[in-house]
Structures are given as structure tokens and as C-alpha cells.
Symmetry: C2
Subunit: 331 residues, 2 copies
């Protein structure tokens, strides 16, 4: 039998294990023009929370009692498709199933000799695209500018910080544990990093770490952390909004200080995006990120959970900040 994880309930507030259910279904049969895939790595990402609600979000909502989808790396174990052969490794937006068939339309073959296949879910995947394109296209960093990154220890944050350094900027991270603060400063070479959980006056702490103000705020979290950052932005600041993880699980509309007066007095630009907005720039981004990766200028860290049945727990752990870097489930 084939294992499948479905959406059992639409989460109210923070997702719980009972919002998911593991079922078994018949093993799929491969039709002409299809491939049979065996899941190897599953990406769990905060944005999936939006698709679990019934509201309009980035993309259509997941259906109840249907398999959830995310970015997945899989191995072709049977091919009745001319473009794929057995043992090929592919990436695509696939279902949380151990085995599944695909007509190949949304699959991309990846080099199976890559030392670490998960790089295609991280630096060379949507994570890297969001980091590089959000920062360069919206943030438009100039040398010696100050960049503040919230969710700095996450998949996107760790990459944004390094890219900012490579582009000559001063990088300040905001994260949720002293362990992450230390790691971001030592391993990822952030100029400074703030633990938002232990700093009672975050706006003041940010001001201290950013004596020249903030030119770019790469926002992964929203909420009160962002309020504190916004009170320190410079004239003509750019504010890419990549995520709002602090708000994904709120059950009421979150309220906070209105930001229009700040944007107005600072002539600042705030822009939300998803990576798909920049699809025409993926080749350029991939080329640059690969180069930096090969030159050893860009490093990454991953949090790997183990086992198909642990996908929901890994996903839920994102909201407790239990990951450092990209959260991936190895099947």
C-alpha cells in the first residue's frame, strides 16, 4: 500500500498534528506517458499554511481529504514517458505521497551526481530564488547600505544575509534564540544579530545595531518585529515582504500601528512578492547563486527531519522556529 498525507481539518490558529492524516491507498499504476516517482525529500515551507485555509491566498487552497502538495525531490522508478528514464532524479510541486505518478509536465530533471540533492530545495530552489530576487529586484542594495532581515535563521533569511554581505552591505539579523544569534554571526558572518525574544525593547535594540538607520528591510515575519524595524528606516528605504510567519496562524485580523505615515515621511517602498513574480529572472539568479556556491562564497544549513510520517511535525515545527536554515523531510 502507498502512504499519503492528507489535510484532515483546516487549521485554526497554529496547525496541530490532528489537522493532518496519514492514510494508505492502492499503489498507483503508471499509464502511457507517465512516470512513477518515489519521494526522496519533501520541502516544508511556512507559505503552505496559507493554502490550508479556505481564504484566498497566494494560490488555491488545499482540499480537505486530499493529499497536500509541496516542492519534492523524487526518483523515477518506472517511466512510460519519452523524456524520463528510470533512476532519473526530478523536482516538482508534488503530493505528500511515498509513490505517485506524473505526466512529467511540471517536473524538472536535476543532476543526480549533485553532492547534496537538497540544494535544489534550498539555495538553488525557490528558497534561493526568493532570497536573491527579493533582495536584488525589490531591495536594490547599494554598497555600504544597512539590511535588516527578520526570520534571519530561516531558509530564506540565512541566504539573504550572505547575499547582502557579498554585495557589500552591513547585515543585521533578527531571530528567536541565542543559538541562532551565535550561528548567524559566526557561521554566516552577519554583522550583528538580535534575539527578539530576549530584547524587551526591540526598536531600541535595532536602533543600536543600526546606527546609520535601515535602508532595506527583508521581512519574513510581519507583526511586532516589523513594527520595531519600521520605526528605524531611512529615507527611500525598500521593504521587500517575503513572508509574514508571525501572522499566518492568527485567528483574528492582526492590528498594529498604521504604516502609511512612515512610508510617506520616508518616501519608502514596501512590496510583497512571491518567487513566481520574477520567473523570467530565475536563470540569471540560478547562475549567480551556483557561481557563489561553487566558489564557496555561499554556504547553507539545513534541518533534516526523517521519515514520511514526520512531514506534518516538521511543518508545525517551522512555527516554533525549530529549524535553522531550510527544513526538509528525508523519506
Amino acid at each position: 500500500m502507498n502512504k499519503v498525507i492528507q489535510l484532515n481539518n483546516r487549521p485554526v490558529g497554529k496547525p496541530v498534528l490532528d489537522d493532518f492524516k496519514l492514510i494508505e491507498e492502492n499503489f498507483p499504476t503508471t499509464k502511457e506517458g507517465e512516470v512513477l516517482l518515489n519521494t526522496i525529500y519533501v520541502s516544508v515551507d511556512p507559505y503552505l499554511r496559507g493554502r490550508m485555509s479556505d481564504s484566498k491566498s497566494y494560490v488555491s487552497s488545499f482540499e480537505l481529504n486530499k493529499a497536500i502538495q509541496s516542492a519534492i525531490i523524487a526518483k523515477v522508478i518506472e517511466s512510460k514517458h519519452p523524456d524520463f528514464k528510470s533512476e532519473d532524479i526530478v523536482i516538482g510541486n508534488l503530493e505528500w505521497k511515498e509513490y505517485q505518478t506524473s505526466n512529467g509536465k511540471t517536473l524538472t530533471k536535476i543532476d543526480k551526481n549533485t553532492a547534496n540533492l537538497t540544494v535544489y530545495l534550498g539555495v538553488l530552489g525557490m528558497t534561493g530564488m526568493a532570497a536573491y530576487l527579493g533582495l536584488t529586484e525589490i531591495g536594490q542594495p547599494k554598497e555600504n547600505e544597512t539590511i535588516v532581515i527578520s526570520g534571519a535563521g530561516g531558509a530564506v533569511g540565512t541566504i539573504v544575509g550572505q547575499i547582502g554581505k557579498l554585495l557589500g552591505c552591513r547585515i543585521i539579523g533578527i531571530t528567536g534564540s541565542d543559538e541562532k544569534v551565535e550561528l548567524l554571526k559566526s557561521k554566516f558572518k552577519f554583522d550583528d544579530c538580535i534575539n527578539y525574544k530576549t530584547n524587551t525593547n526591540l526598536a531600541t535594540a535595532i536602533k543600536k545595531s543600526c546606527p546609520d538607520g535601515i535602508d532595506i528591510y527583508f521581512d519574513n515575519v510581519g507583526g511586532k518585529i516589523s513594527d520595531a524595524v519600521l520605526s528605524n528606516i531611512n529615507k527611500y528605504a525598500r521593504l521587500p515582504v517575503c513572508g509574514a510567519i508571525s501572522l499566518y496562524n492568527t485567528t483574528e485580523v492582526s492590528v498594529g500601528p498604521r504604516i502609511q505615515p512612515i512610508l510617506l515621511t520616508k518616501s519608502a517602498t514596501m512590496r510583497g512578492f512571491i518567487v513566481g513574480d520574477f520567473i523570467d529572472k530565475f536563470p540569471k539568479a540560478t547562475k549567480q547563486l551556483s557561481t557563489w556556491l561553487n566558489e564557496g562564497k555561499l554556504i547553507y544549513t539545513e534541518t533534516i527531519a526523517d521519515g514520511f510520517e514526520n512531514i506534518p511535525k516538521a511543518f508545525i515545527d517551522l512555527f516554533d522556529g525549530k529549524n535553522i536554515g531550510k527544513m526538509i523531510v528525508k523519506i
Copy 2:
């Protein structure tokens, strides 16, 4: 003696007459290299409220017991400056004084044969620049798009709406009286207009007037009106923030629904600006606006108050929406 209006108190909340004082001072003497000016028209603008506070705003705060400044049209009545002669008409950022001297550095000569000199405070002045450049540079309207304008009956709003129509867009205004609703639809050819004071559910009213959603929101007011608009924006919406008149007089930080989740799910861009941000584009804007004006494609309306001592009242009236179009004081 020369009449002067000074800042008497920093307003708390909505400005009152007592925040200003009319004093008399000695008549100025004109030194070598200076001109003596007689004030003809004084522009009163909502943004001046920011300069009356002690906080950082667009520009430096006005000083207590010093004359207030704004855009003023004046006549040269004596010149000891090679570039100006008696009877020249000039515009500049000048003081609320009946007579004043200037070294001419910030003065611009205007054509004294212009039928209506006040056009240089309105359509061909900072008002027109803000409307044209905010809409075209940030809003980037495309034919058949829907533009919503708050503060639609004000100086900037009436011009933004007409420019939007000239560029082939559908224009929806939001304003504060049935009289303005009627005028905006009949005289300024807005496609629809909503009275925010009489519509109990503004978001629903906006949705009804914008069946295809909102592509551009030209925001002059901020606050709850903007909340209602934002709940109806389309993917890739552009949101120029030109003013926030509903928030200028608040005594506490105004709170409202956080907008980051909306910007994120809609890949929308919100950008604050002041006209000075686009100074290099003033000649292009002036040329286009003059052309439309001469062709009769752009019309304007003004609210003219009378008498030097009435400048403070005219300014205060802005916050009650007593003006239609540009508010000007004729001296």
C-alpha cells in the same frame, strides 16, 4: 506695519485658531541683491500640519513664534536684484507675511499674463506635480485599469482622477459629501464616487463600484478609508501614498489591520512619496499638464478664501474637507 502669521502653539490634534497668531512687525527694508515682495496668493496644504509638530516629518519643523511658510505667489514691488524687476510675479516657498524681502534664490518668475495666476499653485504647481508624477511614476496606469482615489475632491484628487481618465482608466473617487460626489461625477467625469460618511460598509460599497477590483489606489487620506480600499485590491496593485490627512491630527499612534499580509498575497507595491522625490521629472510633467490644460482636457476647481488674517482658518478648514479642489487664500 507689516502683518505676519506665526506659529503660536504646536497643535495637539486638530489645529485651532489659537495655534496661530497675527502680529505686526516693522516694514522690511530691501538690501542690495534683494527684492521686496507683496503677497498675492497663499497656498494652504494638509502637509503643513506635519511641519507644525516637533517630530521628524517631510521637512524641518516650523519654529514657534516664527512665521509659517508655504507656497506663495507674490508681486515684486521693489527690486535691488539684477534678475527681477518691479511688477514681476514670482512663486516660491515664502513666509506668511504681507510683505517680505527675498534674495531671489528660491523664487521662480511666472508669466503675469496668465489668466489665472493660481494655476501655479494648483495644476501647474506642486499639486499637479504630485498628482501626475505619483500616478504615472508609482501607479503606472495601464488602459482599462481601475483607479481608486481617496480625498478625491481635494486639490490632488481632482487632478489625479482626470489624468487617470485621460490615460484610459476607470476612476472611482472617495470623498466626504454628496455635493462632492455629484461634482466629481458631473464636472470631473469620475466613473463613480462614494461618500465615505454615509456608506456604513465602505469595503462593500467600494467592491460594488469596482467589479474588476482595484489596480491602483492613490491614497491621500490613510486610516479606515484605506483599510476598506486595500481589502479590494488586485494582484500586482500599485499604491502611491501621497498623503494621510485622516492621521495628521491623531494624538496617539493610529492602529489598524496590518497590511503586510495583503501586500504579500497580492504582490502589491505601496510607496510613499513627496513631489520632491521626482524633481528631475518636473519639466516633463509641466509640459504634459500645460498641454492638457490648454487643450481643455484638464479642468480645475479652487476654493478661494479672502484676506491675510484668514489664512489659519483656511488651513484648518482643510481638515473638515471644506475645500473643493485647491484651497488658496487671496490677500
